[in-house]
């Protein structure tokens, strides 16, 4: 019987592969810290630079300034206009992308070893001497406004924004990072320069590099790239005061399929129970095809293409959140099933079999993430911004393994709160939802 053979093979082989990621922590002569993984087998370098803060630094009336500023970084710097910059970048066959989100601004660059010097010069100019010239500001403002208009008719975006407003109240997390048509239209060049000075300072910078570069080369590179930035930036926002009304908020929108988002209080990464919660949620909603929510709503009933729940850890708030989409006629049934699984998990926790499978998956999948210079550089950046140490990579699986059945039962009982589980539905759901 092959089924037995497969199962035993699974158990026999259940020693997870271990990713050998040798992280060096460096400090440059200029006092900037960086994490490096040397990988000299391919002649290129993946470099990540992240700044804590992001769009949450925007004042309410300047909402969107950080996003617009970030989008303008590739639109001219020093003597270069946008087209000169594109030419310089393309001639070096390098890539550089600039991104902002509520907790940060990041630069992801990739360049050939042989172009390390000019690539560093180019990045320095972009970060320390952006032009923000009037022509580029108007052109990119138009792109941002188009994106805001599109979001205004996108059920997913509408649902996400409505849930954020309901939960975060007056905190910057409640506001759209891109801004609104009104705030973005009113932004001046001075606002953009202020956002740049506020967001991109050395007191909040994190660096990771993976690839064909030595420690000395990297520290010299980052002193060059980041040396021109101000020492301090804008004050970071305080913790969010979260509120969860429970129940279902419906936003009427004509669409064949309703979008459902939900959230309740989460748990801090620093909490001793974090890993118990993480394993619990793997069984409840995070384990792609294997989770209870997926099994009940997709596999057994075919009500959705996908449903997921995840622990969201922002700098200043922790949520247990999730979402799905389903026909308007199935919204009530789907919400009922989510609530039912919430209560069941709260009351009973997980079975030994579920716990074992979740742990084997989580410990086995973790090293597989480290599968490329770009991927590793990005993971190392995320770890630094989440306040982790490099040895987390080696110790993380033991923390998952240490979670017991009793831990999960206790944490599920404490954390899961059906009364606070708050839903937003964008669509025209049928039937009683509350």
């Amino acid at each position: 019987m092959i089924r037995a053979a497969l199962t035993s093979a699974a158990i026999l082989l259940a020693v997870p592969a271990f990713a050998e990621v040798d992280v060096q922590t460096l400090e440059s002569p200029g006092g900037i810290h960086a994490w490096l993984v040397e990988e000299h087998s391919i002649p290129f370098v993946a470099l990540e630079i992240g700044f804590r803060g992001g769009t949450s630094l925007d004042a309410p009336e300047k909402q969107g300034a950080t996003n617009l500023m970030t989008a303008l970084l590739e639109e001219g710097a020093g003597d270069m206009d946008a087209q000169d910059f594109a030419k310089a970048r393309d001639d070096l066959a390098m890539s550089a992308s600039f991104r902002s989100w509520d907790d940060g601004v990041s630069v992801s660059a990739r360049f050939l070893t042989e172009t390390m010097e000019p690539a560093g010069d180019l990045l320095r100019t972009v970060l320390a001497d952006p032009a923000f010239d009037a022509e580029a500001v108007e052109r990119v403002r138009g792109q941002v406004l188009a994106s805001i208009r599109s979001d205004s008719e996108d059920p997913q975006a509408i649902a996400g924004q409505a849930l954020a407003e309901a939960i975060y109240g007056n905190h910057p997390y409640a506001r759209p990072g891109d801004g609104t048509e009104e705030t973005v239209s009113a932004l001046t060049r001075d606002d953009i320069v202020a956002a740049w000075k506020g967001a991109m300072a050395r007191d909040r910078v994190y660096v990771s590099a993976v690839g064909d570069i030595t420690p000395d080369q990297l520290t010299a590179l980052i002193d060059k790239v980041l040396g021109g930035l101000p020492e301090t930036g804008a004050p970071l926002p305080g913790p969010a005061d979260l509120s969860f009304a429970g129940g279902v908020q419906v936003i009427d929108y004509p669409t064949p399929q309703a979008v459902i988002r939900f959230a309740q209080p989460g748990i801090s990464r620093d909490d001793p129970d974090f890993f118990a919660a993480y394993v619990m949620n793997q069984v409840l909603g995070a384990g792609s095809f294997e989770s209870r929510l997926m099994d009940e709503i997709r596999e057994k009933r075919g009500l959705t293409y996908g449903v997921a729940a995840y622990l969201s850890a922002k700098d200043r708030s922790d949520l247990l959140a999730g979402g799905m989409a389903t026909a308007n006629a199935s919204v009530a049934e789907s919400i009922g099933l989510i609530r039912q699984e919430w209560q069941k998990m709260k009351d009973e926790g997980v079975t030994q079999d579920e716990l074992d499978r979740a742990k084997t998956y989580l410990t086995g999948a973790y090293p597989l993430r480290f599968d490329g210079n770009g991927r590793i550089a990005s993971i190392l950046m995320g770890m630094q911004m989440d306040g982790m140490d490099p040895d987390y990579i080696a110790t993380r699986n033991a923390k998952v393994e240490a979670v017991t059945l009793e831990d999960v039962r206790r944490v599920a009982g404490e954390l899961l709160d059906p009364a606070k589980l708050s839903f937003v539905v964008v669509g025209q759901p049928e039937g009683a939802l509350n």
Partner: protein
């Protein structure tokens, strides 16, 4: 600011070095089992992980008439049990081994893949082999999955006016060829699909002599061959499977215009597509010229011909782009898009687009820009080595689109050999209005949209 001078000083050096870059990426080994299963092994020993992909040379364009969506529905049902595996057990075992698995369906191919620790390759092959010809389906698992794909269509297509617009444009582009049907299926046909439809499609197309096995990661080719022979070797070939022969497009003689209106559209845009030749085995030159043409015209907006003309000089567009599907079994499309700035109508944007295209055809190709693009392609051969999975997908897609391993290996040099004249000739040929579809996507009042639907 003196940053441009050091850069200029370095350019000649970097050009010289880049020219000397090796064209080869990872070690790639290929062989064929006796039952006809083609195997491609891509070695990358940096992490102890492996990806197994099995690609079948069958996609939505191979569906029988009236059964649109069956290729994709079957892909979902492939997780629902075999002679040896219970429904859902495949993914459960992958997860229990710390791996991830998924699958996708396209016009020309259907692929299944797992990403796991390298030590689990044998187990993955055991399971994948068991569903190559041993699928076992029952009504109780097939029924809910029909609901899943209907919700998938709702989510991906019906909830997104841009996706509906794309579906309508594709249907207008192909007069006769099945590329005009959506992969997921037209709603009425997909809702009527049955277990028997899935089973007969499966028996017609799933066999080792219609599949490509791609293994990428921390593996040795000899070991992959041993495991492949052990797991896939015993599966007999299906002698009834022949080379795919699809209906071909009749001559396209009329430019088509679409006016798609939807109340959910907040940002209007236009898309123009042209019927275009694809990469053919042993004859990839024209496709290579079209690849460079699409990059020149509409790659990076800040340096492309369309971007500079429409976004910078004339300031009529928020965004513009060009794209080309080079890898395809039959003729594909070359596509141009323009998102106009507020105050510029779609009609005005289309006039501007045509003027820019004409100006491009009338002037020589910018030699400096072409050299830069080629340098970027050369560098991409180095960057590609960072992702064995990307190389695996490249081989899987090519080998299920009528190309050979030799064609894949030859492609980078063919791109390097394209001349400015080749690009001009390819452009003059592909921009044939009679083979074009121009679509406008714009907002409409709900009543207006409802009235149009009921007509």
């Amino acid at each position: 600011m003196n940053m441009l001078s050091p850069l200029r000083a370095v350019w000649p050096l970097s050009i010289a070095l880049a020219a000397a870059l090796p064209a080869a990426a990872q070690e790639v080994t290929t062989f064929t089992l006796e039952n006809g299963l083609d195997v491609v092994v891509i070695e990358d020993h940096r992490a102890p992980a492996v990806t197994q992909m099995v690609w079948y040379k069958v996609g939505s364009a191979d569906e029988p008439a009236g059964k649109n969506g069956i290729a994709h529905y079957l892909e979902h049902l492939m997780f629902k049990g075999t002679d040896l595996l219970e429904p859902g057990e495949f993914s459960r075992v992958v997860s229990a081994n710390g791996g991830n698995d998924n699958a996708f369906t396209s016009f020309d191919q259907t692929a299944y893949f797992q990403h796991v620790a390298a030590s689990r390759l044998d187990l993955m092959m055991q399971m994948e082999a068991s569903r190559m010809t041993g699928l076992k389906l029952t009504e109780d698992v097939v029924k809910p999955e029909l609901g899943v794909i209907i919700e998938e269509r709702n989510q991906r297509t019906d909830s997104d006016p841009g996706a509906l617009f794309g579906e309508q444009r594709r249907a207008a582009q192909f007069l006769h060829h099945p590329y005009g049907n959506p992969i997921i299926g037209w709603p009425a046909e997909m809702s009527a699909l049955t277990l028997q439809d899935a089973v007969s499609f499966y028996h017609d197309h799933y066999a080792p002599n219609n599949a490509i096995l791609v293994v990428a990661g921390d593996v040795a080719p000899d070991e992959v061959r041993r495991l492949a022979e052990k797991n896939y070797g015993p599966i007999p070939a299906n002698p009834d499977i022949a080379e795919r022969q699809r209906v071909q497009e009749p001559p396209q003689l009329a430019a088509r215009h679409l006016d798609f209106r939807d109340p959910r559209v907040a940002q209007p845009y236009l898309v123009r597509s042209y019927l275009a030749p694809e990469r053919d085995s042993g004859a990839q030159e024209e496709a290579a010229a079209l690849v460079l043409l699409s990059d020149l015209l509409g790659g990076e907006p800040n340096s492309s011909v369309l971007g500079r003309a429409l976004q910078f000089d004339r300031k009529v567009a928020i965004y513009s782009s060009a794209s080309y599907d080079a890898t395809s079994l039959d003729d594909s499309t070359f596509t141009l898009s323009v998102v106009p700035v507020p105050g510029v109508t779609l009609e005005e944007a289309e006039v501007a687009l045509d003027e820019v295209l004409q100006a491009f055809l009338d002037a020589p190709v910018d030699a400096g820009k072409l050299a830069t693009l080629k340098r970027q392609y050369r560098a991409s051969e180095i960057y590609k080595r960072d992702s064995a999975d990307a190389v695996a997908r490249q081989y899987g897609q090519a080998l299920t689109s009528g190309l050979t391993v030799e064609d894949v290996a030859a492609w980078p040099q063919i791109v390097q050999d394209v001349t400015a004249e080749d690009i001009k000739a390819a452009a003059a040929k592909v921009f044939d209005a009679r083979k074009s579809v121009t679509g406008y996507l714009r907002p409409a009042a709900p009543e207006e949209a409802a009235a149009e639907v009921s007509q």
